[in-house]
Symmetry: C2
């Protein structure tokens, strides 16, 4: 994480220790906008949704979000009615200490599933959380949302419209239960751009699709995943116009921030030793290209082979074959970096040592050409290591509480 975090105008943030985690680890974060915002979010598609997800969806519909409160160490998922009450209490205590209404607060929780939220600790900590708000508080906020992450994840992008500089800054946390379509992660992106709600929504959807919805660590999709974007217009640019060049520049910058955060999430995934970009081209449709990237990225056998730096294209074509996408075996080409492992579904002439060299790199690209149509998809994923298993065989509750 860069030490020079650029915070968009009109935003303050903080992160403190409230006692949910142990060992004084930051576990409660807050973002506050001094100005009214437009706000949008993408949520988990898991049918089991955590209480804060349900409540934030509701608050989002009323618009006028001014603050985000997030706790780590407990997901407040699968806690029934009590979970709903606790999420509401969390919104209330944040609102009280900020002098706003509860429905102006966006709520997130992350951590273990199925244990009641220690709401008293959050309630007690809320006032000092609010008084800790600083323009320079983003780093503490980023730390407070971490669970099994080893480092906080921040990204910034700036663009200039005439004489107005616009800043987009985001923070994200992983790092297990990462799969396409809102994996286990939270991401908060704030900007001082002036933009309409519908354009922010559209820009977010486009950017999420190619970033957070295109990463996979373990293929598990969590109950709490949320990406939220908040824009407060404090940069004083003239409101971005629909279909304008400036709007597409903004969307590009937003995508850049999200892509940057997404890659950080994969690289810091549990037990990850390899960062692999899967490029699928020539599929009959984009949907088919996504099926292929998903099947390959979720194959334990493929992921284990990467861990061992083995350019095993046989396992890759096997996963391509059961992905559900239309394929013709005799047309499938598989490349490790620039080097062909298989051409037309059979072994290529590249010396195996050359392929091994490619897969031995910490970062490499696996390119799969189906040669059927125009559908493409790019997905970022990781290997599967003994360390992943060693980490996840332990009790999650104990780990994230720092025992």
């Amino acid at each position: 994480m860069s030490d020079k975090i650029k915070t968009p105008k009109g935003f303050k943030s903080s992160g403190i220790f409230s006692g949910i985690k142990e060992n004084d680890k930051l576990d409660l974060g807050l973002i506050f906008s001094e100005y009214p915002t437009v706000c949008t979010a993408a949520f988990t598609t898991n049918q089991v949704k955590a209480a804060p997800v349900r409540l934030s969806k509701k608050h989002l519909r009323r618009s006028d979000i001014r603050a985000v409160i997030v706790n780590s160490g407990n997901a407040n998922a699968c806690n029934g009615k009590r979970g709903d009450e606790d999420a509401l209490s969390m919104a209330r205590c944040a609102a009280d200490s900020l002098g706003i209404k509860p429905w102006q607060v966006f709520i997130c929780s992350t951590g273990i599933i199925g244990y009641p939220l220690p709401i008293d600790k959050i309630r007690n900590a809320a006032p000092s959380l609010a008084t800790s708000l600083r323009v320079s508080g983003w780093k503490n906020f980023s730390k407070a949302i971490m669970t099994s992450d080893s480092v906080p994840k921040v990204a910034t992008s700036q663009i200039v419209f005439g004489n107005k500089k616009i800043t987009i800054t985001g923070s994200a946390k992983g790092s297990g239960m990462i799969a396409p379509n809102m994996a286990t992660m939270l991401a908060f992106i704030v900007t001082d751009a002036a933009i309409t709600p519908s354009d922010l929504k559209m820009a977010t959807r486009m950017a999420v699709d190619e970033s957070f919805n295109s990463i996979s660590v373990d293929g598990d999709m969590s109950t709490n995943d949320t990406v939220m974007v908040m824009a407060n217009g404090a940069a004083n640019n003239s409101v971005l116009k629909k279909d304008s060049k400036n709007l597409s520049r903004f969307t590009g910058a937003l995508k850049k921030v999200m892509l940057n955060l997404s890659k950080q999430l994969v690289k810091d995934g549990e037990g990850v030793t390899k960062f692999v970009t899967i490029e699928v081209n020539g599929a009959a449709s984009i949907k088919d290209a996504r099926k292929v990237s998903k099947a390959v990225s979720e194959s334990s056998l493929v992921k284990c082979s990467w861990n061992g730096s083995d350019p095993n294209w046989g396992r890759v074509i096997d996963a391509v074959g059961y992905s559900g996408a239309k394929i013709k075996e005799e047309k499938v080409d598989i490349f490790f970096g620039k080097f062909a492992g298989a051409i037309g579904g059979v072994v290529a002439s590249t010396p195996i040592e050359r392929l091994k060299k490619e897969v031995s790199k910490e970062e490499f690209t696996l390119r799969i050409e189906l040669n059927l149509g125009d559908g493409s998809h790019r997905l970022f994923t990781s290997d599967l290591s003994e360390e992943y298993v060693a980490f996840n065989r332990l009790e999650y509750a104990l780990k994230i509480q720092g025992h």
Copy 2:
């Protein structure tokens, strides 16, 4: 494996070392029926199909299968035209040494994908493979089809119709790439029952559905999976009648053999330390029940928790939520053995130590009650261990060749 393998009448088998594997490991197997047979098979649904799968399908259509030849150590998959030619050569050399026609031979290969089959070795070994045929040869056959299996897998069942004793004996190999819908495995079941082709087909379909199609080790589905059943009528029972009690007894016995082999496959799965039965009840449909058992059995996080004897129902309900099946979170009950981990989507009162004791067992049942309808499914699966990763990060080619 029991030392007392009961071979159905009129079958002989053998297994020898042909030089595909190293260290004198048996790698070529043969089954021969002295009498004409009815034969049926279920194949991989992977769109990438190995050459022997394509050829066996063709031969099966002509009926009159009299022999099965199987090599291990090389899958003859993804070898293009040469693969097809080699599969045909394999059928030919088996036919020549048995004095039958090539289309009377069923062909299987298992092992590494994408390397040409050493067909000369098979051709050279075919005559001695045929002269090695014995009524007592089943054990060697079972060994010759092994790849990463640690033990050969055999099961037998006998039933008596009047004064005629019928024997059903099968052999299977795993043990990676095991997923529902024809996972990576081969299974060969022979019986001396007299049965019509259509009834054998139906009985096989029913038995496969609840056995080989209901197991999962790593969720990968291979290019070569095959279950074949051959009946030669040598028991001299009167041909089983459609919808008769005797036919359903036969189907039951066939299912028993397949279920027994399936469980052996899971238990001998790569790096497996836990054998877990997932029971899903109360789903809106059987299809939904299958979606849930599949999602849970393929969740790396769930499988890691089992490895650590952690009764982590939160990860289970998370997978239930993204399975794609219709669910209502507040109706989901989750049991480890007889003990509730969650009732109505929230934590149950069972002491955690009691649940841990259950998950610490080498074999336990995870029961998921959706309380929505009548759909049920039972699936057999395993944990995910560091040993699995350690095994599969190594080059497959080297492993199975015994380096």
